[in-house]
Structure formats: structure tokens, C-alpha cells
Amino acid sequence: MNAPSQEQIREMILRTLSEVVPDANVQTLNPNISFHDQIELDSIDFLRLMMSLEKEMNVAIFDFDYPKLSTLKGCERYLVERLAVKV
């Protein structure tokens, strides 16, 4: 099985984020600035985002790694690495 492309991963993250935060315009996010600083996201939202990504990507995200996933770029980087290990 081929690992999804970075583009596909990004699409998946944005789709998941937009389900958790349905009023956010996720297309305009700055990938290098934390989600928290751009859209209103509380701890429960963030946890739901992490759990949804785990489910969607079928990959384990370690709780202690959550801070690494606080930006779109960070999410992409982390998931690309995790999925590469998996494949």
C-alpha cells in the first residue's frame, strides 16, 4: 500500500478540522501558526481533532506528541512521518 501523498494528508487534516470547527475557514489558515492563534479551538476541540485524525489516518498519535501537531505544518510533518513508518 502506498502512503498517502502530502497533499492528500493536508486535505484530510483540513477536512477533519472543519468537522471539529465547522465555522472556521480552514482554507485560509497559515500553516506555520498554531491553530489556537488563528481559530477558536478549546482543549476538547483539540482532543477531538487528534482523535479524529487517528481514526481517519488509522495511525496512533501519542498524547505527548500533541504539541507537535499544533500547526497545520506540524500535523502534516508528524503524520507523514508516522505513516511512512507504518508503510
Partner: protein, 587 residues
């Protein structure tokens, strides 16, 4: 001392029914002793900020760190008691210059930034009323609370102002001044907090504030109607300080961390006032929950006493106790929890992970301070609220149709009630004498919490007698949520329930019936959730939505939320003849 005849809306300075209650209450002499330990103001006055800050400076403890602030990007700032005294003096001088005086409301809408703490204490010094708003509220809850409180001044940040207030200024005629912690000056009536503070003297003499003068206004929710503004007076400091000492055993110099946000009552009573009144060092973390960061704070700051909430504890449990291994938590003396009942597993998990069990505590916005708790030196019963504190008389009661109450025996289920007469009992709901009166019967405050008492006097929470829910420890009423959805053109009816959630305790779920011509679809589903969230903000936003053809209602059209909840939980729906009955919700 019936609450039904004397409790009504009061203006600042008016005598309170609680004074009359206290004069005859058996606990009177007890609280008089607690009161005598305070500094007070000349002439019999009392001021929360004087007790929290200035008295320590006067006693030679001005160099002790009062507030240790840790910014989300790694910044760290210490404010000594002398610093905090000077800064709050500047803020009080500024309010005076702005024409804000006794009884005027000063609101904050901000995260955990130092300016919020300075504003809170400065407001109290000026004799004005501090009213915090949670920064995760959306524009609608913010407008309603600013409007109901008739706030004269708002302290916030540029981003929060732009997102939640600016477009609504025309609807807020009382809001004369906005102070931005990180900017200002771009439009009339919007100032830089820092620039105004810098222009003021750090010397200020607190004007006379009577124990019954208004000090704090905390909004809370009931089943019906708009949020209720619970009024607290300066006398509340007697209970704040007492509980800080008797529940947390706080001593001057202790390091204390309360994770609650000061947008709610816990973050003020126990996130600002009580620990400072005890002379402790208050740790404030600006960042959101992050397990690794939290353990680092407990370790690095050598936290002695930690007050947190079940949602956070459940999130820590998810990470696992082993995450705390390797952290030196030997300074931690006491860990406590508040916001909703903590299940026994959570209590015991504290022992495993931190070496200290979590002690559950019970109180409400209306009670102003902890009234029932598991305390050090007493047997801890996991899953219970604990026992009433000294000076507090609690009971399980049943309301009678004639407006009185019957006291129930140990083991019986009923409503948790507390004998009035303790200092931090709220003194009214702003502009709502009727709802205030409804909280009292036969000299008891009726909490709306259903509970039972065991043979040894420990209280056990069972549920609520109304339709409010606790989500992440925050009390949320259906009215605001349903009203926001009803503003959407497609929505004919909306009903809110709390759906059990592994972390938040409950999340908000709404059931929606559409108007003719609208069809349920995935797109509309997302649109409605987004619509509600834009207005309400993440703290109050529904996270799930389900379409229904019709919502169950009474004959007069009240939505039967209990039926929605039972249906969601898969419970038997029982006798549906209640559909024709008009139950009268409390609150």
C-alpha cells in the same frame, strides 16, 4: 428568617437579607471569628483586594511573589505582593479618572494574562464590581452579559475585541471604555491598558467599602431565560480566606496552582482571591491543557497545592500515570478537584500518578466558596463531595407544595440545601428578584443539585433537578444555545441536552426540527453547527446535532428535554402521558 420575604434585588450599599440571616444563624459566632482574622478598613469596612494584596504588603511581606505568570510561549513574569499592590492601585486610579465608581461594573474578556488579575484587584479597590467573561464565549454570550451587567469598562485584547465586541458596540450604550491589553487607540473609547496605567500613580487609598457592598458579578445559567448575574459582596472574602486555609491548608509562601479560568467563578474565588488572601504564591499558566507542560509546572514551580477539574484529570488519565514518572512532585501536599463530581477512579488515579488523591469539593457560583469538601485529616470517600465545612449546615430536603421544605434522613434522595448565613452566599441575581427568591425556602438555600447523605455525613451527588448541563465543568443552560439556533432561517425548533462524553463530562447536543421547505442534509447539518458556534463560541457551542421531524413538547409547547435525553441514552421513555403535562422547570 425566611428567604421568601427579604431576598430581593439590592442596590450597592443596601442592607442585605444575609446580614439579618447571619444575626440569628447558629453559625454566626463561628463566622464572626473568621471575620476577626481579617484586616478590615477603618470604620468597619471590608475590601476583598485589601485583604488579598495590601494587607500582606503592610505586614512586611511585599517582596513575596504573589503571582507567577507563565506565558504560552515560554515567558515568565513574577509579580510580588508589592508589585500587585502598585499595579492594582494604578488601575483603581485609572477607573476613578474614567469616572467609574462604586457599584459600576468592570468586565474582563481575556485569557489568563496578567492584566486580567490587575484589573480584577484594581476594580475591587475602586469599589466597583468585577465581572469576568469567559474568553471562549462567542459574540452572542458576550453581548448578552455586557448588556445585562451594564458594564462601563471592558478589559480585553485586540483580537477578542475585534472578534466579539467591536461590531456590537452600538448595542452596548453603557460600555464607555474599552482597554486593550495589547494595543488600543485606533478608535474612540478604545485605549491602551498599559498607556493608561503608566500615566497613573501607584498610590491609592481604598475608599470605604462596606461588607455588604457589591464586589463580584458572576454570570451563570438556569433552564429558562437569559443568564443570571449572581451578585457577591466584599463580605465573601471571609469565606474565601477561611476555605483557603481550612480546605487547602494554605499558608503564606505556599505555591498554589488553580487551573480554572478566571472567566468563571472558580478562577476568581480560588484562582485569584483565596490564595492571595492566604499570602500564597499563585501560579498562573496562560496555555491550554498540555499534559507534559502541566507536569513540568507542578515540578518546576514546586507546587504545594493544586486545584483542578475532572475534565483535566480525565485527559491526564488518558495520557497515563507513567507520564508523571520521573517528575519530582514531592512538593505537592494536596490535590483537589471541582466543577462536577469526580468519579472514584479519578480520585484514586491521583494517588497513583501524583502520590496524592484528588479531594473533591462542592460549591456553586451562588455559594461563592467551597461549602462541602473532602479535607485533609478526614477519611476521603472517593466519589463523594465530602462533608460540610465548619460553619456550614447542609441537608437533603424535599420541597413541599406550600413552598417550605421537609428535611430528609440519611440515605434518602433529595435536593441538597444549605442553611443560609455563610458570608459568601450570593446576595441576588441582577435585576431578577423572582429567580433569587426561588432559591430559598424556610431559611435554606436550595442548590438544585440532587444528592444523598450517608450515615457519616458525606454527601453524594446524583444529578440536577433542571435542564442545565456541565460541559468541561462549565454550567450551560439550554436557553442561550437554543436561541442561537432559532436565529437560523431553517430552524423551527431546537432542544439542547447534555450527551455523556469521556472527557468533557457532557457535550452539548441539539435536536433540531426544520421549517417547511428545508430538507435535512449533511451540508445543512454542518452549516447549523457552524452557525451556532460562530455566535456562541467553543465554550457553549453544540458539538452534535440531530434532525427530528418534531420535538417532543408539552401541550403548551415547552420542549421536553428530558425525553430527548432519555431517548439519546437509550433509556425507557416511560409514561408518555407526561407529554401533556406542563412540568415547571426550576432555575
Amino acid at each position: 428568617m425566611s428567604g421568601t420575604t427579604t431576598h430581593q434585588r439590592l442596590e450597592p450599599g443596601e442592607p442585605s437579607p444575609n446580614v439579618a440571616a447571619a444575626a440569628t444563624a447558629p453559625a454566626d459566632s463561628f463566622w464572626a471569628v473568621a471575620r476577626s482574622e481579617l484586616e478590615g478598613l477603618p470604620g468597619g469596612g471590608l475590601n476583598i483586594a485589601c485583604e488579598a494584596v495590601d494587607r500582606h504588603v503592610q505586614a512586611g511581606r511585599g517582596a513575596t511573589v504573589a503571582l507567577r505568570w507563565r506565558g504560552k510561549n515560554g515567558e515568565r513574569r513574577d509579580f510580588s505582593y508589592a508589585d500587585l499592590a502598585g499595579l492594582s492601585n494604578r488601575f483603581a486610579n485609572m477607573l476613578r479618572r474614567l469616572g467609574v465608581g462604586k457599584g459600576d461594573r468592570v468586565c474582563t474578556l481575556a485569557g489568563r494574562i496578567p492584566e486580567l488579575y490587575i484589573a480584577a484587584l484594581g476594580t475591587l479597590k475602586a469599589g466597583a464590581v468585577f465581572c469576568p467573561l469567559f474568553s471562549a464565549f462567542g459574540p452572542e454570550p458576550v453581548r448578552v452579559r455586557l448588556s445585562k451587567s451594564r458594564a462601563r469598562v471592558l478589559v480585553t485584547t485586540a483580537l477578542l475585541y475585534q472578534r466579539k465586541v467591536q461590531a456590537q458596540r452600538n448595542d452596548l450604550p453603557d460600555l464607555a471604555q474599552v482597554l486593550l491589553a495589547d494595543g488600543g487607540g485606533a478608535e474612540p473609547g478604545v485605549h491602551s491598558f498599559q498607556a493608561l496605567l503608566d500615566a497613573e500613580s501607584d498610590q491609592f487609598t481604598i475608599p470605604f467599602t462596606a461588607p455588604e457592598d457589591w464586589a463580584l458579578l458572576h454570570f451563570t445559567s438556569g433552564t429558562t431565560g437569559t443568564p443570571k448575574g449572581a451578585i457577591h459582596v466584599h463580605e465573601a472574602i471571609v469565606a474565601h480566606r477561611f476555605t483557603g486555609r481550612r480546605v487547602f491548608e494554605l499558608q503564606p509562601g505556599d505555591i498554589y496552582w488553580c487551573t480554572a479560568d478566571p472567566g468563571w467563578v472558580t478562577g476568581v474565588s480560588y484562582g485569584i482571591i483565596a490564595p492571595l488572601a492566604c499570602g500564597a504564591t499563585l501560579v498562573v499558566d496562560e496555555a491550554d491543557f498540555d499534559a507534559r507542560r502541566w507536569y513540568a509546572i507542578l515540578e518546576q514551580e514546586r507546587v504545594n497545592v493544586w486545584y483542578t477539574a475532572p475534565t483535566a484529570i480525565r485527559m491526564l488519565m488518558r495520557v497515563g500515570a507513567e507520564a508523571a514518572q520521573g517528575c519530582d512532585l514531592s512538593a505537592l501536599r494536596f490535590a483537589a478537584s471541582v466543577g462536577e463530581p469526580l468519579n472514584p477512579a479519578g480520585v484514586l488515579w491521583g494517588q497513583e500518578a501524583l502520590g496524592r488523591p484528588f479531594h473533591d469539593t462542592w460549591w456553586q457560583t451562588e455559594t461563592g466558596a467551597i461549602l462541602i469538601a473532602n479535607r485533609l485529616g478526614q477519611e476521603l470517600r472517593p466519589g463523594s463531595m465530602g462533608r460540610p465545612l465548619p460553619g456550614i449546615t447542609a441537608a437533603i430536603v424535599r420541597r413541599r407544595p406550600d413552598g417550605g421544605v421537609d428535611l430528609l434522613d440519611a440515605g434518602e434522595e433529595g435536593e441538597l440545601a444549605v442553611r443560609i448565613g455563610w458570608p459568601s452566599l450570593f446576595r441576588g441575581y441582577l435585576d431578577d428578584a423572582e429567580r433569587y427568591r426561588a432559591c430559598f425556602a424556610d431559611g435554606w438555600y436550595l442548590s438544585g443539585d440532587l444528592a444523598t447523605r450517608d450515615a457519616e455525613g458525606y454527601y453524594w451527588f446524583l444529578g440536577r433537578n433542571d435542564d442545565v448541563i456541565k460541559s468541561a465543568g462549565h454550567l450551560i443552560g439550554p436557553f442561550e444555545v437554543e436561541s442561537a439556533l432559532l436565529q437560523h432561517p431553517a430552524v423551527a425548533e431546537a432542544g439542547m441536552i447534555g450527551k455523556p462524553d469521556a472527557f468533557a463530562g457532557h457535550i452539548i447536543k441539539v435536536f433540531v426540527a426544520l421549517k417547511p421547505g428545508y430538507v435535512a442534509s449533511a451540508a445543512l447539518h454542518k452549516e447549523l453547527l457552524g452557525f451556532a458556534r460562530t455566535r456562541l463560541g467553543p465554550a457553549v457551542a453544540p458539538r452534535e446535532l440531530e434532525f427530528m421531524a418534531d420535538l417532543p413538547k408539552t401541550r403548551s409547547g415547552k420542549i421536553l428535554r428530558r425525553l430527548l435525553r432519555d431517548r439519546e441514552l437509550g433509556l425507557p421513555l416511560g409514561d408518555l402521558s407526561v407529554l401533556d403535562a406542563d412540568a415547571t422547570p426550576t432555575g
